[in-house]
Each structure stands twice: as structure tokens, then as C-alpha cells.
Homo-oligomer: 229 residues x 2
Amino acid sequence: MSMSFKELMKVLGLGAVALVLGVEWLNWLMRRLRDSRGPLKEVLFFPSPQVCVEHLFIRHKHFPCACPLPHGIETSFSRLLVHLLSARMSLDLCVFSFSHMELSRAILLLHKRGVVVRVVTDRDYMTITGSQIGALRKAGICVRHEMSSAVHMHHKFALVDGRKLITGSLNWTLTAVQSNKENIMVTEEPELMGPYQQEFQKLWEANDPANHKPQCTNGQLNIKTCKDR
Amino acid sequence: MSMSFKELMKVLGLGAVALVLGVEWLNWLMRRLRDSRGPLKEVLFFPSPQVCVEHLFIRHKHFPCACPLPHGIETSFSRLLVHLLSARMSLDLCVFSFSHMELSRAILLLHKRGVVVRVVTDRDYMTITGSQIGALRKAGICVRHEMSSAVHMHHKFALVDGRKLITGSLNWTLTAVQSNKENIMVTEEPELMGPYQQEFQKLWEANDPANHKPQCTNGQLNIKTCKDR
């Protein structure tokens, strides 16, 4: 059976359309399959071995770091730093105990870069030896503490850019990072992120010093001026 | 234009097939959309108000509980109990501090029901006043503790039936449940569950007393006989 030129063109045209639609459909299917794996989910366990993390702080260093620690190794701690330093807009931190120097350095760096940092911490633990809370306040970072002395603000979570949740058992101390058995997870799952963001906002507002009478004259408990939002 | 009976039957038959296929396709689409919401994700915040949880322990109670606490109210703590008591096969618990009486009651109940319970806990905190670890061991539950006295086993997570992960900042104490600002999440997300299950197994094997020389003669640190797996 022979085909006229016009008929041949029709068949070829339809074939091309079918091909394009088929490729589009395959693309859609691949996208759906990828999406069903869902957003970022990472679990990190501690203790984390001590390695050099200098390259995470100084982006365009020309010479390799000369410190005696191992270089070029990824650890749970370096992953935590990477996630924290990925903040571009905001960092909301809710942490019981904060004395880790390098984590403090990371928060101060974010603040310097213009990232809006808010910290809620525990009233008793913020004044213990080695606490970095004073250094954060000195730099102008807004810190609020649990107002009641009867309860502990025992959370240990951070919210990066209102999108990424970091939460677990890990306090921001050297012992926790280098010695203890600890866990954190990092996720962008909205169903998990959302409730933590709401909890942060609730604690932020509940511990607004403007709503509380001064309870003591201890200078360390006075809230320093900061660009509060 | 008229149609023969045969032709009409053909059209109706094809229509019916198309309808069935369409309904099937819609079903498939709905299933995909439901799946893309993914597995269980629940976030619970504490402190949790004190309410009666008696109905969670005694399934077929004929008369309402006579205790003075509020009844019929769901709280973060009652949700935690529901998730724990949902265990049918196994419960792997990794917890720093465990003194909460009702959580202890729940674990003992699971053990009595034949659920395989394994506990990894902190060496120092297991012997403090009010610790429930002794009661668990007495009942024949396998408990292992961090062998090194230099580090803390600071995790607070539980794995229900190797499928459901419960993790967060909450220690299993009355203060944590009723006073502190705490969080836990409950999820069946395999990407989160998997790493915690591996960590549990690692700690379980690392703290097998068979691999360690006795370090002290304190009776409380001797491992009692239990049906070890």
C-alpha cells in the first residue's frame, strides 16, 4: 500500500508530537519520583573527631591552614558548621547550654554578614563559666532567656532561613561535640520545620523582657540593646 | 445517522472500559498524591499538662478512672505514651536519664506483653536517686550502659518495632515532662529512622559487658541475667 506525500507528512507530524509528549511525560514521571524522596534529611552522630574547620570560616584562603589538626576531612561537626553557615537571611537558635567557641565564632560571623540572629537560652546556664551568650550580646545579637527560674529551656534546635531545621540531643558545648554520644538531624521537611518555627516564635514572644518586670539586679541578666525584630 | 444494535453495543462496551480505566487512573493519582505527603511525622512540645493516662494502660476498664486529674484530654505526654505502647515486637531505648514512673510502667508493661525491650543508658545517671533502670533490670529487661566513665550517653531516642523513631531533647524524667521546655518528634521516615537504628545497634554491641573487663565491684553495675538477644 503506497502513501501520498501529504499522508506521509501527517504520520511524521503526529509521530513527532507523540515523541515530544512522551518525553515530557517521562520527565514529569522522573520529577515525581525524585520529589517522592522528599526534602533534605541528614542525621549526624557525635562525638565528632577533631579536624581543621578553618576553610569553612575563611572562604578564599590562598594557603592551606598550618594548624596541626587533620585537614580535608568531613565530620559530624563540620557538617553542622556547613549547615549553620549556609544561613543567608536568618538564624533562630534555641539552646540550653552554649559554650562551644567555634559555634560561637560561626554565629558571630553570620551576624557580621547581616544574617538576623535570634537566640533563646536557659536562664541558669547562660551565666556559667565559658558560656558564649555574653559574647553574642556584646556583638549586638538579640538573646532572650527563659524568664522563669523554676524551669529549664532545654531545647537544642536551630532554624536556618526559616527553612532548615537542626535538632537533637546536642548542646553547644565542647564536651557534647567531642566526647558525648549525641545526635542531631538536619531536615527541610516542612511538616517538621513548621512546628519548631512556631515554638521558637512562642518562646521568643513569651520571654520578651518588655513583658516582664525585672526580677533581679544581676547585671548579666539585663538585656543589652540589640537591633530587635 | 442511525446505528445498528451491534455498533451501539461496541460504543457502550468501549465507554465502559474507558470509564473503568479512568477511575483506576484517578485512584492511582490519589494514591500517589497521598504517598507524596509521606510517612508519619509528629512534633510534640513540653511541658505537658498533667492529665489522667490510666486508660492507656488498662484497655478494657469498665468504670471511668476515679483519680482527681482531668480526663479525656490528649497531651504531648499522652501522645508519647500512645506511641510507646504501640510497640508489638520490639522497643530499643537509648536514654540519658530515666526516672519517670509512668514511662517506666509503660516499658514494664511492654516487656510483660512479650515485646523485646533493649535499653542503653548513661553509666552515671543510671544509679542516681529515682532512676528506674534498677526496676527494669529487676523485671528482666536487658539494660546496657555506656562503659566509659569519661563520656556521657546523652541520646534520648526510642525505636518502636524498628519502624517508628521517637527523638528529641526530652529525658525520661518528671521535670522534663512537666516543667521544662522540651521537644520530641515521632516519625516513620525511613531515611531518619535508619541511621538511629544503626546507632542503637552500634552502642548495644560496643557496650556488651561480655567485651569488657569488670571495672568496679559496685553491685549496681553488674549486669543482671536477662533474655539477651
